[in-house]
Each structure stands twice: as C-alpha cells, then as structure tokens.
C-alpha cells in the first residue's frame, strides 16, 4: 500500500504540473507565435491522398505494438510470464498515449524558444490549439499527432524485452512515462523537431536514432541495472511458443510499411521507394541471420530468421528515405550478420542479460543503419549524398547523431531507474520471480 501511495502521489504531482502549464496563457502564447508565423509563410493546403495514406499508416503502426510486439516478445518468454509481457506492451500503449497527449507531443514538435536546440515548448500541451483545420505539411495535425503517438508508444515498448520476467509493473509504468518525457520527446525534437541534430544535418528518415538506438541503449542500461534473471545460465529459459513470435514479427514487418513509408508524410514516390527498400533490406537481413546461424550453429531456426528480419527493419529505418534499392540490400545483409553476432557471441561474452536482445537487435541494428545511411545516401532519392557519392562527412555527422543519442539516453535512463527504484523499487521479489509474474502481479495464468 505504501508503494502504491507513493506512485499515486507521483502521478498526481505530474498531472498538477501539466495542468499548470496548460492554463498558463503567457507560456502558451509565447511559444505559439513562431509556429503561427511559419504556417502563414508556407500556406500549406490539405492533400486528401496524403491524408488517407497517413490515416492508414497510423493504424498499422499501432498494430506493430499491439499485438505485434506483444506477441513477438510474449512468445519468447517462459509460459509463467507471457501475460505480464503482453500486459506491459498494452499498458504502455495506454499510458504513453496520455503522456504524449499531455506533454510529449508538444515537447517534441513545438518551438522551444531559447532552448529550441534541445527541447520544444508546452504550447501544444493537451493539444491546445489543434483543431480540425490545423495542418502539419499537407495533412491534419490531428493525424500527424496520432501518427507520432504510435512511434512514441512503440519506442518504450521495445525496451520491455530487456527486463522481462523481473520488473515490477508499478515501476514499469512510472519508468515509461518519465522516460518518454525525458528521453524520447527531447531526442525526437533534436532530430525531427528542429533541434541541434537536425541542424547538424543528421539523416534519420523514420527513427533509427530516435526510436531504435534510443530503445536499444535504454534496454541495455535497464538490463544491467536490474541484473540478470534469477537462474540465468543454469535454468532452461527457452521460448514457450515461437509461433506467437512469428505472428508478432510478421505484424511488425507489415506495420513497418506504415512506419517507414508513412514517415514520408505523403502518398508519393518517396513513400513508394521507402516501402521497396524496406522490403528488400528486411528480406536480406533475415537471410543474412539465417545463413550465418546455419553455418555456426548447424541449423537454420525460425527464431533466427524472424530476428534477422526485425534487425533488417531496424537498420533500414533511418535510411528508408535516402537510399536506393542496392544500398538497402547491403544494409540488410550487414544488419542480419552483425546483429546475429551482437545477440549471441557478444552478449554471451559480456554476460549481461538483455533477455530478448533489445540492444543486440535495436541498438546495434540502429547504429549499423544510421552509419550506413551516411554511406549509401543517394542524391537521386532525396538530394542527400553519402560516402559512396563522395560525401565522407555525412558518416561523421551520423556518428555525431549516434553519440549524442547514446550519451543522453544512457545517462537519463540510469537516473530515471534510480528515481523509480527509490520510489517503488524496480525488481520483483525472488519468490515472485520464481513463481512467475503472471500469477504474482496480475492474478492470471495461461494454462
């Protein structure tokens, strides 16, 4: 009861703060002005084709988290914890939606005044001023908000894979809300909201840095902070139902067309090419992982081929709007092979229990994709050149983007974990972990 009270108290304080920001007219008006001016200059008009595609993309990106990621992860844990994992994914979907509506969207996508290089303002907290006629580019801002909400949801949900089987549910809710506002929203602003990485010329089409490196690094920090699962290395922790994981990975692949092609924020040639390179890179990475595993472990596994596919989806994400199909092929092959070694050999050698390889696949795949975007960016696609077209500096710019993301994400994630641990405790008891989270935290089991 004491921990619950602490948690409720934290929630109330946060809400009170949000409401204060919302009703402070001076603060809101100050930050809103530049945006209004920009809108007048560009004078955009609504395009129905773009809007239709973005409505569709938004729906299928939501499908990536629930049920896609929930099933992908759920199938890989032991039967006693499957409900806790799908519960975590579903609850994150709900709680992040509210956090994004209250504050996250505004922090990411509005002008932050003097702090604009690092963080946006609160002028659109609780979607203040967003009506049915408000546009972002050529689509309603309401659609852009919801589309971005689905990204804000899947990013923290990806982190779940690092600490399955052992994190408290109350700690998870608190951690995810804080992480979304302190880590996800600012980094989104850096890259897509006019922050310092956007100004430095970092290329991240659909979230290789914002979503995947970010989730991967946070996952690694969580895995190290929480420690290994009890029985790690001695008990059998084999996946309880890989068919769920296959369904989940397949939904991720389908949803990723909304993620990558939707990031064009238009129904045009850029979206079409993003779709094609996504398909090619994913297939190449799935085969890359499968053949590497076949050589090393003597058998091609279904868990291997779907893991490779996800690695390919991750790696092509930053590149999807900048590279040609041949570039996508090489990015896919590289991601499949490198992520295989990161999730098997490297993880084993370093001894951390990143249970479902959030770092090995999303962190490493995101870094591979971000660097190779700087190598394969083709002028013919979006007017951006990479190393192969003589612009070696782009690779360094990409590395700068990666480094800034890793540093802020790692430090902030660590601090948030400490705060959450003091408030409610991050890890379940040893007895609860052995018996299973489903019965202990949620009072339900799968027979």
């Amino acid at each position: 009861m004491v921990t619950l009270a602490k948690y409720l108290f934290a929630g109330v304080v946060m809400l009170a703060f949000l409401v204060l920001c919302y009703i402070d007219p001076a603060l809101a008006q100050e930050a809103a002005e530049p945006v209004a001016e920009a809108a007048e200059e560009a004078a955009p008009t609504l395009n129905t084709g773009d809007t239709a595609w973005m409505l569709t993309s938004t729906a299928i990106v939501l499908l990536m988290t629930i049920p896609g990621l929930a099933l992908f992860y759920g199938g890989m844990v032991r039967k006693k914890n499957v409900l806790s994992v799908v519960m975590q994914c579903f609850a994150i979907c709900c709680v992040i939606t509210i956090a994004w509506f209250a504050m996250g969207y505004s922090l990411a996508f509005t002008d932050g005044g003097g702090m604009n290089s690092y963080i946006g303002g609160l002028s659109k907290a609780f979607l203040k001023g967003v009506g049915i006629d408000t546009l972002t580019l050529t689509i309603p801002e309401s659609v852009f908000f919801t589309f971005q909400a689905t990204f804000a949801i899947i990013t923290p949900a990806l982190i779940v894979g690092a600490f399955v089987d052992r994190m408290k549910f109350s700690a998870l809710l608190l951690f995810m809300v804080l992480w979304s506002l302190v880590v996800y929203a600012p980094i989104t602003h850096w890259v897509w909201g006019g922050g310092f990485l956007a100004n430095a010329g970092v290329l991240d089409f659909a979230g290789g840095t914002v979503v995947h490196i970010n989730a991967g690094i946070a996952g690694l920090v969580c895995a190290i902070y929480l420690g290994r699962r009890s029985g790690y290395g001695t008990e059998n922790m084999a996946p309880h139902n890989l068919v769920y994981s296959v369904i989940g990975a397949s939904l991720l692949w389908v949803g990723w067309f909304g993620f990558n092609a939707g990031s064009a924020v238009a129904a045009n040639g850029a979206a079409g090419m993003a779709m094609a390179v996504t398909q090619i890179a994913t297939a190449a990475a799935a085969l890359g992982w499968m053949f590497t595993e076949w050589l090393i472990h003597k058998k091609p596994s279904i868990l291997g081929i779907i893991s490779g596919a996800v690695a390919g989806l991750v790696a092509i994400t930053p590149a999807a709007g900048f590279v040609e199909p041949m570039g996508a092929l090489w990015i896919g092959i590289a991601a499949g092979i490198i992520c295989f070694f990161a999730s098997t050999t490297v993880k084993k050698a370093l001894g951390y229990d990143d249970s479902l390889d959030v770092f090995g696949i999303h962190g490493v795949g995101g870094i591979v994709g971000a660097i190779l975007t700087g190598v394969f960016a083709a002028e013919a696609i979006a007017g951006k050149t990479g190393l192969l077209e003589g612009n070696a500096g782009q690779v360094l710019t990409q590395i700068w983007g990666i480094t800034a993301t890793i540093v802020w994400c790692a430090v902030a994630t660590f601090v948030i974990l400490i705060i959450v641990n003091i408030l409610v405790g991050v890890r379940v008891s040893q007895a609860a972990e052995v018996e299973g989270l489903d019965i202990n935290l949620h009072g339900e089991v799968v027979q």
Binding site: A238, H297, S301, T344, T345
Partner: protein
C-alpha cells in the same frame, strides 16, 4: 489380472491402440509424460543460448488385461511401437489385485 504399462513414442499411439483393440481389449488410459532413458535428452539453441533438454515427451499407456492375455498384449505393443531407433520406450507388467466397474459393481475380469 495384470497392469501393462507401456512408455512409447507419441506418434506410435494410434498404431498401438489399434493393435490392442484387435486383441479384443476394451479400454486403456493414456497420459502425456516426460522422461529419459539411455536415449538421454537433446540440445536446443535459441539465439546462441544452449539448453539441454533432459526430459523428452513420451506417451504412457496403461491397460489392465486378463493374465492369460498378457503375453499377446505385450507382443502387440512391441510390434506396433517398434521403430528400431533409440528411444522406442519400455513396457512394465505388474499384478493387479482387484478391479471394480463403478457403474454396475462387477468385479475383476468381468469388470475389464
């Protein structure tokens, strides 16, 4: 009366059931079990993590037969369940003291 208890490979269940039915036996009890013998277990690999699985899935059949039919029943199970590969299973025969059919109260061989 004897209890014939056979541990067999799961996919051989239907052939064994058919062989015993042909002998005129009218019932059996089947359980999904796990265990190991000289076959030992096998190794599974998930993203490089190796797990030794010591207990393999098998089917346990229990059937109570009149003493004079025991040999035929055992032979039928052996010929139906045999693949010649390691892991075909084992048969145990133990005496049964009493049998009661619950519905009618009949006892022993007339209750089988």
């Amino acid at each position: 009366m004897k209890l014939v208890m056979a541990i067999i490979k799961p996919f051989k269940l239907d052939e064994v059931r058919q062989a015993l039915t042909e002998l005129g036996l009218q019932g059996m009890t089947v359980t999904e079990v796990k265990g190991y013998g000289r076959q030992k277990g096998h190794t599974e690999i998930y993203r490089g993590a190796e797990y030794a699985v010591n207990f393999l899935p098998k089917i346990k059949i229990e059937v109570v037969v009149p003493t004079k039919q025991v040999d035929k029943a055992v032979d039928a199970i052996v010929s139906a369940a045999k693949t010649g590969q390691i892991g075909d299973g084992k048969i145990f025969v133990v005496p049964v003291e009493q049998t009661v059919r619950i519905r009618t109260g009949e006892t022993n061989e007339s209750a089988l």
